[in-house]
Each structure stands twice: as C-alpha cells, then as structure tokens.
C-alpha cells in the first residue's frame, strides 16, 4: 500500500467522513487504523467545522488483559458494544462491518438491496445476489473500467422516487476474488490483507476518486442484472421474466418484510421501469465487456 499524506485529524484521533448519504464520526483505535481509513476515504473526509452525524462510532482497546496480550479492539455505537472484540489489526474490517450493521438496523428510510450497483452516466445497473454470486467482484471490475461505483453490497433505493443513492465503499474481496481482480487489473489499488476473517482472506479495493466525488449524485435504475459466477463459463446474458425478477429482487432486499407495502410497491415500480436479465459469467474481462456493451445498446 503506497503511503498517503495523512489527513489532518483532531487532537482526539477522530475523523468525520461522508459515507454516501450518511455522515460518520469515527474515533480511531490507533494510528494504523486511521491511516487505513484515510487511504480508502481520503476524498470524503470533512475537514471543516463541526457536523451533525448519523453515527458516532468509537473503536477502542479494552481495559482488560486483551489490551496488551494479543490485543483486541472493540466497536462502540451509542455507548453500546454489540459485537465480540476483534484482533486489533482487524480494526478496519471491523469498522466497515460494524457500520454496515448500523446502517442495516436504522436506515429503513431506504429500501436496502443486497446488490452491487454501478452507473454509466448516472444510469444505474443493479446487480443483486447472495454471497457467491460474484456481484462484489463484478462491481469492482466494472468500476475499474470506468463505471461509477454506487455500492458493492448495499443498494439504497429511495421508495418515493425509485432512484438510487450512492454509497461507494471499500469493496471487500474474498479469497480467490483477490487474485481475479489483480489478474484483471494489475495496478488495482488494494488495501492491506486481512487473513483469517470470518469470510477467509480479505482485501479491499479502494473506491476511485470519481465515484467518491460524485457520491451525492443519485442514479436512475435502467438495468437489473442477476449475476451468477460459474468457473470457466462463457458470459451469457439472458432476458429475465418480470415476475421472476420481482421475486428474486424481493428476496434480495434486506428490509422487504419490514417495509411491507412500501417495499412491494417500490419493487414492482422498479421492475417495471428497468430491463431485467440473468447473467452467467466465468471470466471478468468477458463479463465487463458484455455488460458494458449492454449499456451502449
């Protein structure tokens, strides 16, 4: 990881940054964590004045023997510690994961889709999928080839306007996806390696400047593509029946049940205004080419 000029931070080691529509104040556990945070999100750190924030997150070292012996870090929000402590040098993935939890449990003002989302000239392609579908890796690859990154995992749809709000984050690549992205783009800006996380070996792709700079610009959904990674497969894009698309999208919505009728109407409305496809792919370069061609058609 190349070194980056450190972001000026306040005396007490806190940083305020814009994470898509949310503003977060993070009190960092150590210099290394804050440096990592700066590396990924330097462009969206706020330097000026005091801000109203959505989440005030503290990463702390516990006052137990685990402060020194195999040191740990603890995630704190609203004075609560909902999670098990993690190794101190996994502070960054713990922060990312913890922030996801905060958003998932409170941001019901949005319909929250389990999907990657990228935009081509502010027209969005939504890539919903369960773990293993390849949506994160695909979103990463598309963003490396110039698409604007809106999300790799957390699509935020405004039910009243059926548009998507951007929240470009570090994209966690797991195990073999790391090599796949490096094969695809040797100079891809990846963060530190975190071995032995719950999901295996993880490295994050840094969001590009363009995506971060435009994170306040929403995008209009135009394509709904359900990816399925299959080793060695040819890239095949097939039109998908709208009812099936509805079912699969509802299934991939985190708060579908919670939002009840609002969710039903939003998903119906969305499916009616986009082109729906299922997409099988085995190689990233084929996949990116095929999907980009779709947006030009």
């Amino acid at each position: 990881m190349r070194s980056v000029a450190a972001v000026p931070r306040s005396e007490d080691q806190t940083i305020v940054l814009d994470v898509g529509p949310f503003r977060v104040r993070v009190e960092g556990v150590d210099g290394r964590f804050l440096d990592t945070l700066s590396y990924f999100y330097r462009d969206s750190v706020r330097h000026d004045g005091r801000h109203v924030v959505d989440y005030e997150i503290r990463l702390l070292r516990p006052w137990t023997h685990r402060r020194w012996l195999r040191p740990q870090a603890v995630f704190e929000i609203d004075g609560l510690r909902p999670f098990e402590p993690q190794p101190l040098d996994h502070a960054f993935p713990m922060y990312e994961w913890g922030l996801n939890w905060c958003i998932a449990t409170s941001a019901h003002r949005y319909l929250m889709l389990h999907s990657g989302t990228v935009a081509f000239d502010d027209r969005a392609m939504i890539l919903p999928g369960s773990p293993g579908s390849g949506k994160s890796t695909l979103s990463a690859a598309l963003s490396l080839r110039g698409a604007r990154l809106l999300s790799d995992e957390f699509g935020l749809l405004r039910p009243e306007s059926l548009d998507l709000v951007a929240m470009p984050r570090g994209i966690p690549l797991k195990n073999t996806s790391i090599e796949a992205i490096l094969d695809f783009e040797g100079g891809a800006p990846l963060g530190p390696t975190y071995p032995n996380t719950r999901k295996g070996r993880v490295r994050h792709l840094r969001p590009d400047e363009h995506s971060l700079a435009r994170q306040e610009v929403p995008a209009t959904p135009r394509w709904l593509v359900f990816p399925k990674y299959q080793e060695g497969a040819e890239a095949v894009l097939q039109p998908l029946d709208r009812d099936e698309a509805f079912r699969q999208l509802a299934f991939n919505c985190f708060n579908y049940k919670l939002l009840g009728e609002t969710a039903f109407r939003a998903v119906s409305g969305l499916v009616a205004q986009v082109d729906c496809y299922s997409f099988r792919f085995g190689r990233l370069d084929d996949a990116v080419e095929r999907l980009t061609a779709l947006t030009r058609g």
Binding site: D78, G79, N100, W101, K257, L259
Partner: protein
Amino acid sequence: MLQDPEVVRDWDVDDWNRFLPQARQARLLGRCYHLFGQHGLLDAVPARLVDQMRGALAQTRYVQSQALRELGQVCRVLDRQGIPVMALKGVAYLAAALPPSHWRNLSDIDLLVPIAEIERAEQALMRSGWLPNGEFDSYDQHYYRAWMHEIPPLVHRARETEVDLHHNLAPPVSRIRINATRLWEASLEVADPHGQSVRVPGPADMLLHNAVHLFMNDELRGGLRDVVDFRDLFEHFAQQDEAFEPGLLARANELGCGRPLYYATSTARRLTGLAASDRFLAEVGRHAPALPVRRLMAWLIEQLMSPRRLGAWQTTLADRLLFLRSHWVRMPPGMLIRHLTHKAFRSRKETDAVEPDLPG
C-alpha cells in the same frame, strides 16, 4: 425538549449530536418525529436526522403490525378455551388507538388472564405451537410462577413476537397487593385496527399499570419512554373526561398504588412537563415517602432517565441500586437474600455480545 419542543430552533450541532443517540437508545425517535411534526418544527431538524426518524418509524410500524397479529392469534386460541384476555401496556394502547400508537415500539405483547386460568392458558397456547422463550432452570421457573407475576414468556415457533401472560400487575408476594378482579371489572372492550374485539384496562388502570410497572420492576433504564407514555396518556384522558383526575386518585387508593402513582406523576412532571392540576398534585403528594427517600429516588431516577447519561459511571451505580430496590419492593427480605445468592452462584450464560449475520 420534551417539555418545550420549540427549543430545538436554537439547537446547535452539538445539541443535535447529543439528541440522536439518546433518542435512539431511549426508543423515542418516532415520538420525537411526531412531536416535531405537530409543532411545525421539522424544517428546523437537520435532514439526515429526519431520515433517521423516518427509518425508526418504519421499523415501529412493522413491529406494531406484528404485535396486533400476534394478539389476534393468541385471542383466537384462548377464546376457544373460554379464557378471557386483556391486552396491557403497549399492545393495549395500540388496540385502543390511543395517542402513543402513532409512534410506540413494542418488543413483546403483555396480556392479562385470570389467575385461575393462567396454567390452562399456557397449556392451550403450547398445544397450538407456542414455546417457552429462552432457557430457564427449575429455580427460574419457580421464581417466575410463584413469586413474580409472570409465567415464562412464550413465542410461537413460526413467528418472533414474544407473548408475556400475566395474572396481575404486581406479584402476589410484593409489597403492593392489587385485586385483579377489580381490573377486570373496570376493563373495556374495543375494536382494534384489524377489526378484532379486544379487552383493555380502564383509563385509570392503564395509568396505574404504567406507574407500577415502571417503579416496581427493574426496567427503569430506558424508562423515559414509559414516562412519556404516562404523560401522553394522562393528558389525553384528562382532556376527555373532567372526572379523570379524581377518578385516578380514588382508584389508586382503592388498589393500593398510591406510591407508584406519586413517583410516576412527579417524574413525569420533572422530565416531561406533565400538565396536571394543582389539586391533583397536592393529593398525590400525600403518597410521597419521607423526604430523604424522596430525594434519593429523585436522584436515582434522574441518573437513569434524564437523557444526558449514556455510559456515565453514575448511571451504572444508579442502575445497580435500582436493581436492588426493584427486588426489595417485590420480595420479602428472606426470599431476597436467597434469590440474589442463587443468581450470583449460577454460572452465567454465554456472552451477551451479538454476532449478527451481516453483509460484507
């Protein structure tokens, strides 16, 4: 702010940053959204906080519909057995479409059945798919059944809403003895938002239950929400019925709930600006304890409920003291020692930390 919402027009960044986590933890985000809306103050609220409040309300709507659904299911089973059911607390406010139903969250539903029927009710529900929620050893079971006013909570295997069946508002061995028959006599039948017919306590009993629950049990923490409920319900009923205040006092005397009513009233006045008549306040003041106790309780309540204190050491201390007190008021001293000793030596259940399954 709860007393005079207009103050938010003068709030600065730091005030708003204190407001959000506290309101979130106190489960009052939805309440505040309504309060701001009612007073035309939403334009003064930062947009991202409006979004947070709307998110909280969406979640509230969901748990409310789950609660009403669960209520319907339980009533169906118990009706077949000829067992009368009365909704209590949050689910009662919901069923009767009282003001808190616009914003009130619930994590479970509380229901009253006659003491003679409670075991039969439990069995009927368990035959229809409800299961005890959580692990309880035989000591816990005994504690719950004989000493508390609860059988262990139940949850249906296909759903998530917890059902707590009670046969009284205060345990039989506590220092307050309520005659449950009186509760049934004063109860009312209402049609809930789903069109089902539901029995709820009379207005005075609703207030007294709130007071007893809050000041006789161990849930003072997070109790600001309950204090707000007390204020909202009191003012609603007082507006509708001139005779409400004297009626409430008489009922408190009748049921022996004067002390909790005093605490509820004084706390609601101090923290939420409860509008009660001077006459009422003077009368209820007669149930106050001796001055030193009054002062200590006021301090304890302030520490736990006043929205300033996330994580402060005083909060922890007050919390511990109130936990002890809550047992004190529920159990005779001999039982108390035995109970606390047993709890202390039982091996603790595994860590409280949550490991949710999450994206990423």
